[in-house]
């Protein structure tokens, strides 16, 4: 007869990821899910309850527009980051091994920058007094220096900057495994270098590119600081409103409801794009 501890020992290996998942994902998620149905108590945060009013409040033209804004910005950031990252990574994988590691280390160091630093660094760079406006004046491209922030362009730039290293890290392994003779074969068959990249390399990388798009999309969806630092109030994303509700309005149930909603919508979008990708192969 095996004792309980012995049986647990047998399952130690496989149990580890399960325990991690439950402790660090399922438990917090269940807490958040329950809070989203609680009622708000002005004096003491929230009261256990089961009401749908938090979700009901969200279903409004205002939040609908905010949700749409969030999704559009993240989608745009994902598309721009990945479009830049695909050729970038391709050229990195064509470099000598030593230069490849230099590039990757540099890129990883960018990852160590928090959203706060990235946000304020760009806001300084795009400012009127200390920014690249002065540089443009110096080289004669502009008459007087001007500020480029806050603006939609500045926000998208920041989000792209945030997502770019992740896109590269997703693309790098697949692109470095690509047989170098494949693009060469395309060239021998008459394709120019650009054409061989578009016709052959890109389609072969389709699943990886989809993966990179999804990662950057989901990742930038959570950016709550960049829209406030680099964007105007109309550019505030759902994440900004969630932060606002949770921290400044102390309305955790509503913030939780919005977070759940955002998660469900992004899960649905990722699911649809994965299904579409599979249907085409």
């Amino acid at each position: 007869m095996t004792t309980l501890t012995a049986r647990l020992k047998d399952h130690r290996g496989p149990a580890y990821p399960l325990v991690m998942l439950v402790v660090f994902f399922v438990v917090p998620f269940v807490i958040m899910l329950s809070v989203s149905f609680f009622s708000r108590d002005e004096g003491a945060f929230f009261q256990p309850a089961f009401e749908l009013s938090n979700y009901a409040r969200f279903i409004s033209p205002f939040f609908g527009k905010v949700l749409l804004t969030s999704l559009t910005f993240s989608a745009a950031a994902a598309i721009i980051s990945v479009s830049v990252a695909v050729p970038f990574t391709y050229f990195v994988t064509r470099m000598r091994a030593r230069w490849q590691s230099v590039m990757l280390v540099f890129l990883l160091s960018v990852l160590s920058l928090s959203e706060v630093i990235i946000g304020f660094a760009w806001s300084t760079l795009l400012s009127k007094t200390a920014g690249i406006g002065n540089l443009l004046v110096a080289i004669g491209l502009m008459e007087i220096s001007q500020s480029f922030t806050p603006s939609l362009g500045a926000l998208l730039l920041g989000l792209t900057y945030l997502g770019f290293p992740y896109a590269v890290l997703v693309l790098y392994p697949a692109l470095s495994r690509l047989d170098p003779e494949i693009p060469e074969a395309a060239r021998m068959l008459g394709a120019s270098p650009i054409r061989s990249f578009v016709n052959v390399v890109m389609p072969m990388m389709r699943n990886t590119i989809t993966g990179a798009l999804i990662l950057v999309f989901v990742f930038t969806l959570g950016a709550y600081l960049l829209p406030q630092v680099l964007g105007r109030p109309q550019h505030w994303t759902l994440s900004v409103h969630i932060t606002d509700q949770a921290i400044f309005q102390s309305n955790l149930p509503f913030a939780a409801a919005m977070a759940i909603f955002l998660m469900l919508v992004s899960l649905a979008l990722v699911g649809i794009s994965t299904l579409l990708g599979r249907a085409r192969t």
Partner: protein, 350 residues
């Protein structure tokens, strides 16, 4: 006319010289093998011809036109890569028709041409398969068909058969040769397998350390190697280091070998040299007093199709190969004589 002229072509990577002043003339419609050990520069030379690498020096002309600066995708060459480099996201027919698509051929004509090429490589009925569903030999043929799709000026193949098992490889060597004959396309194949080169090529170019060692027909190179490297690389050769001591006498290990007027001498009388003789051109005689050389049998092995006898002379083992029916009646440790067949010895520069 797609004669390929390679003039003093050089390729350097930093201090390393991969191809060192190669000059070769490849005539229209011929089948040429670049043969050599790994790292001898044969693949680099092929890539230079393809335009995948830039020349560090020299020039390349095709059909009398300078191609030194023509980019790879404008050369109108066909190429089969070592990895084959078939496109996994396209079907077999789409792979073959890809160069036609680039040239703006419409879909139905592309399809017709792809099917025609699949017939040519004896693979009908697989047009709509995915590349990953094919066997090694089928992939090989598809890659060849794709390389031939545009009727290339020059057809280049980089170790095309190296990934296949021995039987299939021999089979495809013959097929490739027949295909090339039928189409008459100037073909250059890189290989490290001398048997492969001998069975396919009109002309073999033997390379070592970036330099051409010898250019000739397979038989010329086999019968009359230019130096000891070629003699040893192409097939098996007995190499006897000694000295030419008379008008037709070669001294090896204190024994004088009388040469015949038909033997080929690359050195002058009195000079040191290496006598090269093929195992099938040297006969073991039971009587040590007969023949040009004597020694002691050190090993005999019967491989069925032929018999190998190793005879110790001085500090080397001379290999003799004969058919089982003409096997001499000798056994291990016997003193025996060795006779070189008339005209089959070559004395190379030492």
């Amino acid at each position: 006319m797609t004669q390929v002229q390679i003039e003093n072509v050089t390729k350097k990577y930093g201090d390393f010289i991969a191809v060192d002043g190669v000059t070769v003339n490849i005539s229209d419609g011929s089948f040429v093998c670049l043969l050599g050990p790994s790292g001898c520069g044969k693949t680099t030379l092929l890539r230079l011809i393809a335009g995948l690498e830039d020349l560090s020096g020299g020039s390349l002309s095709v059909g009398g036109v300078d191609y030194s600066k023509v980019p790879a995708h404008k050369r109108e060459f066909g190429m089969v890569f070592q990895s084959l480099a078939l496109f996994p996201h396209l079907t077999v027919a789409e792979n073959i028709a890809y160069p036609l698509k680039i040239r703006g051929v419409n879909a139905s004509n592309r399809r017709v041409r792809a099917l025609e090429l699949l017939d040519l490589v004896k693979l009908p009925d697989i047009a709509d398969r995915q590349v990953h569903q094919l066997s090694g030999g089928q992939r090989q043929r598809v890659a060849i068909a794709r390389g031939l799709a545009i009727d290339p000026k020059v057809f280049l193949l980089d170790e095309p058969l190296s990934a296949l098992d021995a039987n299939l490889r021999e089979h495809l060597q013959i097929e490739l040769r027949q295909l090339q004959k039928a189409l008459g396309v100037t073909t250059i194949v890189v290989t490290h397998d001398q048997r492969e080169a001998m069975s396919m090529a009109d002309t073999v170019i033997v390379m070592k350390a970036g330099k051409v060692q010898q250019v000739g027909t397979p038989v010329e190179i086999y019968r009359n190697p230019a130096n000891a490297f070629v003699a040893n690389f192409i097939g098996v050769s007995n190499l006897l280091a000694g000295r030419l001591t008379g008008l037709a006498q070669f001294t090896f290990d204190g024994q004088v070998i009388n040469l015949t007027p038909e033997d080929i001498l690359h050195v002058q009388n009195g000079q040191a040299g290496t006598l090269s003789v093929r195992p099938e051109d040297i006969v073991v005689l039971p009587d040590p007093a007969q023949g040009q050389l004597s020694g002691q049998v050190s090993f005999i092995r019967d491989l069925g199709a032929n018999v190998e006898i190793l005879v110790r002379v001085g500090d080397i083992d001379i290999i003799s190969i004969c058919a089982p029916q003409s096997r001499p009646s000798v056994k291990m440790s016997d003193r025996v004589g060795l006779q070189i067949l008339t005209g089959r010895a070559t004395v190379l520069a030492a």
